[in-house]
Symmetry: C2
Subunit: 204 residues, 2 copies
């Protein structure tokens, strides 16, 4: 092991790390509004976090600017942990999204605060960066975070779009920041919306 010294210090540090690790188990119980492609149930936030972490690794070549894939993967791994306290709020729910901002910050304080300061600080600053969406890494991260729910909707004949009365105009407006991270993926998604409208999955 590379950490310094005293076994008592090591035990305290490991206990802090494990308290965070055990808390993470709760993200497996947070429901999103996306339906799985192959099973009739909502996706959970932990599953989504895994899926887009893999996606981060595979689609980086489509980012508008070069990104640090390893950093983006870490960002994706922890981008939704605040939902443990604050819950998942639909991207199309404007009022809900505004209300949850403060709750998510408090959640970040509590959750990342369980870790030793060095690690908690690193994860917190990755989360802050993801939320601010000002760097190349976080703009790419935001683009792939939006890509997967759109694919889930398309692959389930627009099930969640229909349940929340989402039409093409809303889909374009609420996802347009994808363009800041990836023109290519945004182009792909716009085409998918067109086909979805043709097929009746998405309202005109």
């Amino acid at each position: 092991m590379t950490s310094a010294g005293d076994p008592a210090d090591m035990t305290t540090r490991l206990e802090q790390q494990l308290s965070f690790i055990k808390e993470l188990d709760k993200l497996k119980s947070i429901s999103r509004r996306s339906y799985l492609i192959n099973e009739d149930r909502f996706e959970r936030s932990a599953e989504h976090s895994w899926h887009i972490s893999v996606i981060a690794m595979l689609l980086a070549e489509y980012a508008n600017e070069p990104v640090d894939v390893d950093r983006v993967i870490k960002m994706m791994l922890i981008h939704d942990v605040v939902e443990i306290d604050a819950g998942d709020v639909l991207v199309y729910d404007v009022k809900g999204r505004e209300d949850v901002v403060e709750k998510e910050k408090e959640a970040a304080d509590r959750l990342f605060g369980l870790l030793p300061d060095d690690q908690g600080g690193e994860l917190r600053s990755l989360w802050d960066e993801f939320e601010a969406r000002e760097t190349a890494d976080s703009m790419y991260a935001a683009a792939i975070d939006r890509l997967m729910p759109i694919i889930h909707n398309y692959e389930t004949q627009g099930r969640s779009w229909q349940e929340h009365n989402v039409n093409r105009e809303m889909a374009l407006t609420f996802n347009k920041h994808m363009k800041d991270g990836s023109d290519d993926l945004w182009q792909y998604v716009k085409n998918l919306f067109d086909v979805a409208v043709e097929k009746g999955y998405l309202q005109e």
Copy 2:
């Protein structure tokens, strides 16, 4: 975007990547034998993959030899995708583990084969390395892969241990390769087994 040239080539490549990405959704339906800490159901393999990818990031200081954390995270993200075709087999099921080896290799051929060659090759070699458990990165990966089910068992009063008649001797034997990746974590786990026996969670 950084990939070269012709839009038609880009489309084909993206379609290959998305076919793999959509296939990954199935890992969210593969049940493990670990019970969640806060919800009365089995953990799914996709959730587990997320959890230990985060853990890889947090516990690297306890690895016996220095590891490349970014590589280990990628290894963890894809280490169980073969279960999409081959299913999850309990670590204590010796015959089942032997039978599944060939199936897992075929699954790796099929699944990683969906990707463009460069990316499929990279993920396949990470998976092969994880399975062979000969490098510092893969020995650390194997140690944390075993850590979390033990914590799940302990936190649910040994529920899965009891359902599969696991006693301390078996727990020590089937997890002892943790020591190759991390003496510190192995020491922690051995102590946890002692407490679990005292509390009646694990048979003597």
